[in-house]
Symmetry: C2
């Protein structure tokens, strides 16, 4: 018997032992899931909130302590329990979807055949609302469909929002909440206030139609008129697991010009240039670390989506286009520095920007290091 | 007794049950770790490779199947086992560090007091090599320190590499492998070949000095002279868990101009502009989804690091500076499009770039969606 064969026999036994351990792990996870479902059910019956962030953090601290006692890496154990708890939250949110804040209320989704419209329709229907969908060529049906509505949501492109508000408002009951979901808020909210004398709220869901579960997703809410009458709509998003952040229309639009328009435009410009350089994309990936993979992935992600969606975000307002022009001009301001190979000027500018970022740098390193590890773990 | 109190009692019991399950989970993880350590030890004794990607994939498929049988989400179970297996690999790689491919061989690290130099020194020493460190003002000690070297690694800035090769080579034994670790390869490899008549290999570790464990990290190797004599150096990196990718110096430099210089420069330009716009960074984070958080995190990450390092990468060669100039010019080419609000032209260009990205788009969506989920899970 060779050394390898002997090792092979020993290995077989050890592998069987790993299999046995893993079988027990899977069985325990299934048992945990059952107990957690009973906790959620008990909380629902008692009218208690299902998620309790503080208790989750306590639980994690306790599991880290136990990990250390068992000689395990506490980060490993924390990661595992975070993943398990996230999975529980998602399945509980899915269960919560069945309960509406105002089940039976009538919701009209204008543009309900679009991707976001379909998603909204599914969420409201899943929570027991009576949902009607109105399309562009459906205006003659508007009185029948929207006449008794408690909520009307405009899920049409930015440019069509004001027109849709004007067409719809005359048939809405005065008590109906009118909302939109476009990614700019000043003009649409003004148009809704102008068209409808009742409650108005502007919404901006900070996620796309590929998002199926709202757990921890952000929705920006811009109060228009009669916030008390609008409150149940925001509560419904919260019940679905979303985080609702309030802002004025002006603040929202100023921030989104950077968060959406500038960022997407910068990504567009980068992708445009690498496509012109004509490098071998796959070969560059073989050569490079997880950060490049992550960054190029964010570029590839943009170009895998709908150009019209990005055109809408980038060209939304003259102020946005002006911001993007200034971006290109600021970028071009670095030509001299490159021309002259002026490293000192580069380092001075770098330090000025680093000062502006301040503490965020440390946080960014922590967060991105964690993600890079995940990327290597999953796709490395 | 109120409904809440009754629920409270029931909840207490259920929570105790979760605690008990979790205690068992932690104990099982510790047991699994012990068995895996015995497997690794058995493999090492038998001279078998410790990692076996194919077996890992088989194991994951099997655990997914068991998850489905137990009514658990197979993606959840796969994520958990991937995390556990990564942890095992890392601790095994740490154990492997103790074994060198040529323990006892003499290694000289020039610039060993720098961050990467210190890291190299630690890895080689941990694997039983005799390591000497040579600094800029140490050249008079070079004959004593490098006279019997089996490997000399230049860990100095790009601009100092050629000079260091010329200063060191005369005292190296002819059989010594001469290597560098700078992020450009044409000029440094040429300088090493010119200075040293023996084996030469250019290395580019695609990670920074914050990387402590080499598991799955990429090292690009550019053959210079006598690859057989250099092979053990590459084997040592592989033994530490790194993935060694071979390329010519020209291919390496062409790809790195994009992968490093262009990417870092684009990030610099973006950070420079947002700092000038002067937005409220924290408030933008409250408003925005995980993708913005991820992208802004990559920008913050850059500015939290050493400007000199980035100046070195960006200004490395005239060809690089020319590429970056063309980038700024291409970017500026979009001014008209913004000026005229030409959405159609934007969409046409967008589709052209999307075609160039091809299949990569789908892969990028999958990978980044996974990471976004991780980001929400960990920091959401």
């Amino acid at each position: 018997m060779t050394r390898r064969d002997a090792a092979g026999d020993g290995l077989k036994e050890l592998r069987d032992e790993i299999d046995a351990v893993d079988r027990e792990l899977v069985a325990l996870l299934a048992r945990r899931r059952d107990v957690v479902a009973r906790v959620a059910e008990a909380k629902r019956r008692a009218g208690l909130p299902v998620h309790h962030p503080a208790r989750e953090e306590d639980l994690l601290s306790d599991r880290r302590r136990r990990a250390r006692e068992a000689g395990l890496d506490p980060d490993l154990v924390e990661d595992l329990f975070r993943r398990v708890m996230r999975s529980s939250r998602v399945s509980q949110s899915a269960a919560v979807t069945a309960r509406g804040v105002r089940p039976g209320a009538r919701v009209v989704v204008v543009g309900g055949a679009g991707a976001m419209g379909r998603r909204l329709r599914g969420w409201f229907e899943g929570s027991g609302y009576r949902v009607a969908v109105l399309e562009r060529d459906d205006w003659h049906r508007a009185p029948a469909l929207a006449g008794g509505a408690d909520l009307a949501v405009l899920a049409v492109p930015i440019g069509a929002t004001a027109g849709a508000a004007r067409s719809l408002a005359p048939v809405l009951p005065r008590s109906c909440v009118l909302a939109d979901i476009t990614s700019v808020k000043q003009a649409p909210v003004a148009a809704m206030l102008d068209a409808h004398p009742g409650p108005v709220v502007g919404l901006h869901p900070m996620f796309g139609p590929t998002t199926r579960v709202l757990d921890r997703q952000i929705v920006v809410a811009v109060p228009g008129r009669d916030p008390d009458a609008c409150a149940w709509v925001l509560e419904q998003f919260t019940a679905w697991g979303a985080v609702v952040v309030s802002a004025t229309a002006a603040e929202h639009d100023e921030i989104m010009a950077v968060v959406q328009a500038l960022r997407h435009f910068a990504t567009f410009v980068f992708g445009q240039f690498v496509s012109r350089v004509g490098m071998d994309l796959r070969r560059t990936l073989e050569f490079s670390g997880p950060i490049y993979r992550l960054e190029l992935g964010m570029v590839g992600r943009l170009f895998a989506q709908d150009p019209e969606l990005y055109a809408e975000i980038i060209f939304a307002t003259p102020e946005r286009r002006d911001l993007l022009r200034r971006y290109l001009e600021t970028a071009a301001g670095n030509l001299d520095l490159l021309e002259q190979g002026d490293r000192d000027a580069f380092c001075r500018e770098f330090r000025r920007v680093a000062d502006w970022f301040g503490d965020f740098g440390g946080q960014a390193i922590r967060e991105s290091s964690y993600l890079i590890e995940k990327l290597v773990e999953r796709f490395g």
